[in-house]
Amino acid sequence: MLRIFENTSVLTWTAARAANRVSCSDNDYAVEVSDLTAVYGRVEVLCNVGLTIAQGESVAVIGPNGAGKSTLLKCIAGAVRPVAGCIRWFGDATPRRDILCRKIGYVGQQEGLYAELTALENLLFAGRMNGVANIHDRAGALLADAALELQAHRPARQLSQGMRQRLAIARSVVHEPKLVLLDDPSSSLDTVGCQWLTQLFRRWRRAGQTVCFVSHDATLTRNLADRVVQLEAGRIVGIERGSRPPTTLQRSA
């Protein structure tokens, strides 16, 4: 399978639109976004955005504040309904809501943790809502992985910002989603936290999970992403290749 990457940092919208389509069969796409337009009130946040993300691929979305990065992520997560355009998830443009939710793990700009519940209870609740079997074992493993074992019975409000971010990321993958969407995952993480995140990305790649994340951290972005999509004023203005080694999907090309 042929894969097209653009190496120039800035492209015109037309060129970017042509370039961001990965050449593979429909079933290989985790996400296909076409002509997506989203508005908040009268403000057009996204304008005719087109993007495809292959399964197992890691795509970073970068851009200045207000570029529409988080909105794009929310649209892909199904949390915001666009006014125009189409999104297909794993080849399906109109999936059942519960089926789509089971395939997606999402962490927004805010962690979405219940401050009064303990770290363990937050994971247990997320697991129960997702119908995860053996949720106690799964939650324990995730807490251990995020180095939060000692904080398991502490309320989330007593955790540090970085711990809460790790807990939120752990919560987003409690149901082992095929597509992980993270809005600025490294924002509150220290060096150790960033290393943990890097390891997590590697594990997701080995498991064939697709990742799309928004980031302002240029180094992390280039290390973790197969492709870097640059948004400006709601439009894709550039797509770069990340420095991450090619995924299984790419190697098979």
Partner: protein
């Protein structure tokens, strides 16, 4: 979703809200306090002959319960909005109607607790024989609570993302709950006056229909409310 999954989700959603409330006292203390102040003011100002007092007592009691209860309904969503929890909740594979029913159930518990405190206090302060017919009173209160919780949950969910949600909530909620308020007040007035007749049953039926319609409507419309 199987019915077992639905019941499980409903239970854990209610469990989560009750756990949060019991640990942090997010909503209920302020709701009960507002109710106590209203009941105290209304009951102590009710300096009327017994006959006239029984005519207005029910209306005043329900007015206090609904004002204080609207605070509980409104806060049940704002605490969820804090820290982006609502967005995460909306992304779980649970039917929006289940989420609505869970929120409504928690609001029903809040209203029940509120009434457990306010009704005895109102009886003591106003000296109205409200507790003489506990069965009919319980039926009136239950149907009034279900109707109010259904409308309150629906409207609170609708306004929770708005900047001026307090004023919009009042504008939408108060006209919508007038049938419940009126029905509950009339049914209570009649049971205080020992007039449990066909007319009383008519008010009870109105409350039951209202509760049923708004519960179904809320469960159906909640999907649109959940969208950002």
């Amino acid at each position: 979703m199987s019915s077992r999954q639905i019941v499980n989700s409903l239970w854990w959603l209610i469990h989560k809200d009750l756990s949060r409330e019991l640990r942090a006292q997010l909503v209920w203390p302020s709701t009960v306090l507002l109710g106590l102040v209203l009941v105290f003011l209304l009951a102590t100002q009710l300096d009327l002959p017994v006959e006239e007092k029984t005519q207005v007592a029910g209306g005043l009691l329900w007015l206090a319960i609904f004002f204080a209860g609207s605070l509980a309904c409104e806060r049940s969503f704002t605490t969820e909005r804090d820290n982006g929890c609502w967005q995460v909740l909306a992304m779980y594979p649970i039917a929006p109607s289940v989420l609505f029913l869970a929120k409504m159930a928690v609001n029903l518990v809040a209203l029940a607790i509120l009434e457990l405190v306010l009704v005895p206090m109102f009886i003591v302060l106003s000296d109205v024989p409200l507790g003489a017919r506990p069965g009919p009173l319980l039926l009136t209160a239950t149907l009034g609570n279900v109707g109010f919780a259904a409308v309150g949950t629906l409207v609170s969910g609708l306004t929770t993302g708005l900047r001026h949600r307090g004023s919009v909530l009042a504008l939408l909620l108060l006209p919508l709950v007038i049938p419940v308020l009126f029905g509950s007040a009339e049914a209570t007035r009649m049971l205080i006056s020992d007039q449990i007749n066909s007319q009383w049953w008519l008010w009870i039926r109105l409350l039951a229909v209202f509760a049923f319609v708004f519960t179904i409507l809320g469960a159906l419309l909640f999907e649109f409310i959940m969208e950002e």
